[in-house]
Each structure stands twice: as C-alpha cells, then as structure tokens.
C-alpha cells in the first residue's frame, strides 16, 4: 500500500512526534508513505477566515502536486485534512472554481480532481487494518483508561469531511481497544478546544481546555488520545491547574507505536509538557520495560 504523504507545517514543528509516530506505525503496518514534493501550507484557519479564494487555493496547490504522483493522499493533521477536503468540495463552483482555474494557469496543468484525501483514522479504522494492528501489538496498553478526543475538524462539516458518524465517531476507540486500552465513555469527543485562538485569545482556550480535561478526569481517564496537532497542543499546554491532576495527551499514533514497541517512538514522551510516563508506568509495571 502506498500513499502520498502531506505532513503539513505542524508535523514539521510543534507536532513532530505525530509525524515520527505516524511514519513508524505506517511502516510497521506495511504502508509506504512518499512525502509530497515541495508541498505548501494549507492556509489553515487564517486563510479561510480572511479570504475564500485563499481558503481554497492554498490547500489546492497540494492536490495538484498529489495528482502528479497518481497516489491518494494521507494527511494526519486534522486541520490540513479538513482544508484539503474543503478544497476538493469547493472546486466545482463559485470562488472555489475561480481558485481552481487560477491554479491551472499558475501551474500550467489541469485539475483532475481524482485523488482521495484520507486521514490516518480512516485508513487504520477499517477491519483489516485493525486486525493488522492487533497482530503487531506486543505491549498491550492493558489497564490504561483513555478518553478519545476527536475535536472539530475530522467531522465537520460532515458532507465534506466526515468518514464516520460525526457526532459519535468510533475509529480511535476501536484502535485504542485494538492496542489493549480501555476506552472511557464521555460526551466531549467532538467538542472544540479553541483551535487557532491559542495565540490571540489564550484566555478562551484555557477555559475550553479546562472543560475538556475535567470531563476526561470525571470519566476516569488517565490519558487523552487525539489525532489533531491543534487539539494535542492546546490540551497539553493549556491545562495547567484545570483538574486535580495533569492528564497526558497522546497522539493516537504515539500510543500505537508504544504498544507496538516501535524503536522510532522511544523518547517522544519528552516532547510533551504533561509527562505521559506515569500513566504508562501502570502498563509498564506488568511488563517492566520501556519508556515512551
């Protein structure tokens, strides 16, 4: 299995551990990733918030590059995934169509619209891949209670981006169960963490994060698992003092890589503000080894 890989800017900076663990897990599962040549920023929230044309043209440039490879695209960042899917949906009318024509001019080739954009949760959440994950797990996360947190961008707007029930997603739950963890029930799976307001309005993000962290604790979670760099960063860096104890926030691929004992994933825990080691120690104690 081969995919064109669109890491996006976060996975090359604040979310490098998501990049490293995604590549490691995919490799272990026999999925080959080819990073898109000269990929550019998807524009994220500031682009579509400021200008509809930019909100389509910036992500779409990457779809043009992907078309050259003939491969479908894997985009782990939920914000990039959302922008790319939006560009695809918008390509046929209005300003989206204008953006598409403009890019055809700039890049000197036609847009075919024939690549598929996937998020790792969609790829890994299918039955066959889940079975492959189960086979590869050598250090089950037995006894670890996790809250799966999907956030906004993987399910909304549903008609453009959802690959499962947008109100009750389960792909990450199934993956964590395949890795041996216990998934808690809670009602904050698809709530918003404040996303890109982190720099401009940290006061609001602190408030939203506090609600999410307290709900996870109340549900008995020892860790929160995410699939979005904005969610991970906001929950990890803005939760100080929110709950009676800090809750580590792991990328789903970090948790999987740890359960599969992939060497690439060792040491990633040091990149987190809330140290995941104590939560994983409970799992460790049954096996007596390893450090994330």
């Amino acid at each position: 299995m081969r995919y064109a890989y669109y890491p996006g800017c976060s996975l090359h900076s604040t979310a490098e551990e998501y990049d490293i663990s995604t590549r490691a897990v995919m490799k272990a599962l026999g999925v080959e990733l080819l990073e898109l040549e000269d990929w550019s920023c998807c524009g994220a929230t500031p682009a579509h918030s400021s200008d509809k044309f930019l909100g389509v043209a910036l992500p779409m440039r990457n779809l043009f590059i992907a078309e050259e490879t003939g491969l479908d695209v894997l985009a782990p960042c939920a914000a990039c995934y959302n922008s790319l899917r939006h560009a695809q949906a918008a390509a046929e009318e209005g300003e989206g169509q204008e953006a598409r024509r403009a890019l055809e001019q700039i890049l000197g080739r036609e847009y075919r619209g024939d690549v598929q954009v996937l998020h790792p949760l969609e790829l890994l959440g299918g039955d066959e891949m889940l079975e492959a994950v189960r086979q590869k797990v050598t250090r089950p996360l037995r006894g670890l209670k996790v809250a799966t947190y999907y956030g906004c961008l993987l399910g909304r707007p549903a008609r453009e981006v959802a690959f499962e029930d947008p109100e009750r997603p389960v792909s990450m739950d199934r993956l964590m169960e395949a890795a041996g963890a216990e998934v808690v029930r809670w009602s904050y799976k698809t709530d918003c963490c404040g996303g890109s307001l982190a720099v401009a309005r940290p006061d609001l993000v602190v408030e939203l994060v506090a609600g999410i962290v307290r709900a996870a604790l109340a549900a008995g979670a020892e860790a929160i698992v995410t699939a979005c760099p904005l969610c991970q960063s906001n929950l990890d860096t803005r939760q100080a003092g929110a709950g009676e104890r800090p809750v580590p926030v792991l990328y789903v691929t970090e948790a999987l890589a740890w359960a599969m004992e992939l060497p690439e994933a060792s040491g990633l825990g040091r990149r987190h503000l809330v140290d995941p080691a104590p939560a994983l120690a409970a799992v460790n104690s049954q096996r007596g080894m390893g450090e994330l």
Binding site: C9, S13, S40, K52, R61, A102, P157
Partner: protein, 181 residues
Amino acid sequence: MSTAVTLDFYRRVAGESSEPIARCYQCQKCSGGCPVSFAMDLRPHEVIRLVQLGRDEEVLKSQAIWICIGCKTCQARCPNDIDASRVMDGLRALARERGYRPGDERVAAFHEAFLRTVQGLGRAYELGTVALFKARTRDLFGDLTLGLEMFRRGKLKIRPSRIRRRAEIGRIFRLAKGKRP
C-alpha cells in the same frame, strides 16, 4: 432604514458566504452549541438575525465575528443547514473591505501574521508568526514561559522551512488581493 438598504447588505452577505441566511427562524441551536458564545458580544443567532435585518454596522463592528473559531458546531446543529461560521468568514472580509477596525484586534493580528509568513515562505513558521503578532499587539511577555518551555522540548523551530517554488504562492496571494475591491 429603507428596505432597499436592508436587502442590499443581506444580499451581499448571503452572496459572500453562499449560505441560505433567509431560512433562519431563530431556533438558537447554533448559539446553544457554540463553544465561545459565552464570550461573544453578539451570539451566532443574533448575528444571523441582524444580517437579515440589514443592520450592518452592529454586525461588522462586533467582536463575535472575530472570535468565532470555525468549529462548525453551529453548522452541524442548524436545522436549516446554515453554516454560521461561513457567514462570519464573509462578514470579516466585509468588515475589512469597509475599513472597520476589527472587533478583536488580537485575532485579526494573528491571522495577518500567520498569512504573512505563509506568503513569504510557502509554509507556516510559528516563531515568525508570534514575533509579527507580538510586534503588532505590543504584547511582548504574554505566554513567554510557555514559549520557552515549548522551545526546550523541541516544539518550536528556530529556522523557518521554506518551499522552492515560492513564486507560485506569491501569485496566489496577489490574485487573492486583486479580487478584493
């Protein structure tokens, strides 16, 4: 206000956002689900209603249109398939076009700083964005400790990453600008 003026603003916003604003019957589900409505001066359903009524100034000056995060909870809940976040996107563009001072200058400064790094490099650059943002908002010390902590953990890169074909990004930005009146 005359009906013509009312319709003019309504049509402009409906066109800019491509959202069926006329269908809104004020059920308030959008505001009920909105994670930041507690901090808004106008809640999402009020923004929609004021657009219907053509009360442009109140809406364009509001801080609500700037602190909407685009989480689309409103869109998911609306029984009439209205995406209030797209209406907010359109209103921000209109506010800028008409020269209104942004209702939340920090958010506006962040968007601008982010896009300037992307325009120049083809990629986002956190430190550059934050530096531009701080210069604009004169907020030199906010989040300093957190920044250092993230830096220590290898989460902030000193050197920006840039793409080779930056000219293509430059042309995209010029075209976008050219389309604004």
